[in-house]
Amino acid sequence: MECVFGLVGEGFAVVVADTSAVHSILVHKSNEDKIMVLDSHKLIAASGEPGDRVQFTEYIQKNVALYQFRNGIPLTTAAAANFTRGELATALRKNPYSVNILLAGYDKETGPSLYYIDYIATLHKVDKGAFGYGSYFSLSTMDRHYHSRMSVEEAIDLVDKCIIEIRSRLVVAPPNFVIKIVDKDGAREYAWRETVKDADVASA
């Protein structure tokens, strides 16, 4: 029931993920952040097996950081996407990771980009992408309303339309979503869309 989707606008890329950590019928928590900040100008939104998701995205994050330490310059988004695909492809016939990834980034030379990398290592550069059951609703909504070079307000409006669609039409719709954006000023959290707040843990 995990929903991850994203789109590219004018000078930015936005990715949205649900924030439910689920095990069978139990919701462990509703504020699990599934969008990792890969480096200053890249976001990696991942969905799939929880252990694989965290392990694999951390592995990618550390290797991207290592490249920057060794070479003094950060990887481009395309390079990071191809590296991620390579790692998934190498593991595919040995010990596959069940993680679907949307990698969003901003490069000074080429602008914003979004890469769709599914769990069997199919890589494709897209303008809009989505994973999970939510994709049946969010992709169609984005197909209808998306146009190239959307402003941030228009894009967030479209994101909200998708979230409303998922909430109203998906039988086990996740209650909360996190929206993160990456543009020339970097990768950062933009907003949360919450309908359920986790109760604060009482102090001992």
Partner: protein, 193 residues
């Protein structure tokens, strides 16, 4: 559903007089869902050699990455085809789930096309080769439309009419028409569904 039909694809190559054309559809899907309508499946290995893969998209990409740095600038298409065949047979008991189509201009600008199955059994043809989920339709369309020494128009028509009958491939077409002096690339607009 078979693993070869997971992403959906249609590829064909045809021979003309001292030229060849290689064409593919543009859909990338995950079973019934369409992910993208501009997916790249044909790669230019060098000016006179093109490689396309139908079948599982991830294996098509992996195979391209394995081949791209092993191809020399002036490799003959026959040699390249043998290399691809060997690479595929290496994985005989855990194969790549794709079927390549190789098209190139050999010595004296003689066009060469071939396809192979997922474990490297080469099929050389003098006229046309087809692979992908729409292969049965493609065989029919090519057999009906092919004549020796033709232009690129025919390959476009054969591709579009075949993918129109296959739900897993389509969303337009992409044709490379190669003569000894240049490469012409065309995007086709067919039934966008």
């Amino acid at each position: 559903m078979s693993i070869f039909e997971y992403n959906g694809s249609a590829l064909l190559a045809m021979v003309g007089k001292n030229c060849f054309a290689i064409a593919r559809d543009r859909r990338l899907g995950v079973q019934l869902q369409t992910i993208a309508t501009n997916f790249q499946r044909i790669y230019k290995m060098h000016d006179r050699l093109f490689l396309g893969h139908s079948g599982l998209a991830t294996d098509a990409q992996t195979l391209y990455r394995r081949l791209v740095f092993r191809t020399k600038r002036d490799m003959k298409p026959e040699t390249f085809a043998s290399m691809v065949s060997a690479l595929l047979y290496e994985k005989r008991f855990g194969p790549y789930f794709c079927q390549p189509v190789i098209a190139g201009l050999g010595d004296e600008d003689k066009p060469f096309i071939c396809t192979m199955d997922s474990i490297g059994a080469k099929e050389l043809a003098k006229d046309f080769v087809v692979t992908g989920t729409a292969s049965e339709s493609l065989y029919g369309a090519c057999e009906a439309m092919f004549k020796p020494d033709m232009e690129a128009e025919t390959i476009a028509q054969a591709l579009l009419s075949s993918v129109d009958r296959d739900c897993l491939s389509g969303w337009g077409g992409h044709v490379y028409f190669v003569i000894p002096t240049e490469v012409k690339e065309r995007i086709l607009k067919g039934r966008m569904d």
